[in-house]
């Protein structure tokens, strides 16, 4: 069966520090991968998605970037965090666009 792992579960970072959140999927090949941010009361905001290695689509211009160095690995990064980057970050995968997305347990990011 397929599983998705996200880490870390929680992270506290100072303003201006770098960020790296990692997501890996097991049990499937060539999944579509997604990064979302969830702010309180504002639903899910799609940040990036990828349909293959090295292919990244950005939905919202911002302080973040994403990379897909391997088929089942998706990384969310920032060179310098802002206070506004605080939130709950979710990674998801799907077999294809017409199938459901399956979510990881999320990373709670707090910026001080």
């Amino acid at each position: 069966s397929q599983t998705i792992h996200q880490w870390p579960a929680t992270l506290v970072q100072p303003v201006g520090s770098p960020l790296s959140l990692e997501c890996t999927v097991e049990g499937t090949s060539n999944p579509n991968l997604y990064w979302y941010r969830q702010a309180a009361g504002r639903g899910l905001q799609l940040l990036f998605y990828s349909v293959g290695i090295g292919q990244i689509s950005s939905e919202v211009p911002q302080n973040l970037s994403a990379s897909r160095p391997q088929d089942r690995q998706f990384i969310l990064s920032s060179k310098k965090l802002l206070l506004s980057d605080s939130g709950f970050y979710l990674c998801a995968w799907s077999v294809n666009p017409n199938q459901p997305q399956h979510f990881g347990d999320g990373t709670r990011l707090s910026i001080l």
Binding site: Q6, N32, Y34, G41, R42, G43, L44, L46, Y49, V51, S57, E59, F88, L90, A92, P97, N98, Q99, P100, Q101, H102, F103, G104, D105, G106, R108
Partner: protein, 113 residues
């Protein structure tokens, strides 16, 4: 582009009562529709999906939803709510040819004993 509206931000029901959460979508063709549930601090769990065929779909945890094309709706129902159903519920719509889902803003469900 597709869009989703969940008109109710917060709903409170008593344990054992029936539940209906509303979801309206906007899309020109037949959409793919999903309901997810999220407990505090957790990821989203898929409850059910409509891809094609029978418009009444059954999901996990005793939930069902009905796709009504004429009303552009995909409402989630449960005949008898349990305290453990307290969570936030998200409706999502996908469209053929798009790699993305569009999520509603969610409905928070509170269950009174």
């Amino acid at each position: 582009a597709q869009s989703v509206t969940q008109p109710d931000i917060h709903i409170t029901v008593s344990e054992g009562a029936s539940l209906e959460l509303r979801c309206n979508y906007s899309y020109g063709a037949t959409p793919y529709l999903f309901w997810y549930v999220q407990s505090p601090g957790q990821g989203l769990q898929l409850l059910l999906k409509y891809l094609s065929g029978d418009t009444l779909v059954q999901g996990i945890k005793g939930f069902e939803a009905e796709f009504k094309r004429s009303q552009s709706s995909f409402n989630l129902r449960k005949p008898s709510v349990h305290w453990s159903d307290a969570a936030e519920y998200f409706c999502a719509v996908g469209a053929g040819g798009s790699e993305k889902l569009v999520f509603g803003k969610g409905t928070k469900l509170t269950v009174n004993p």
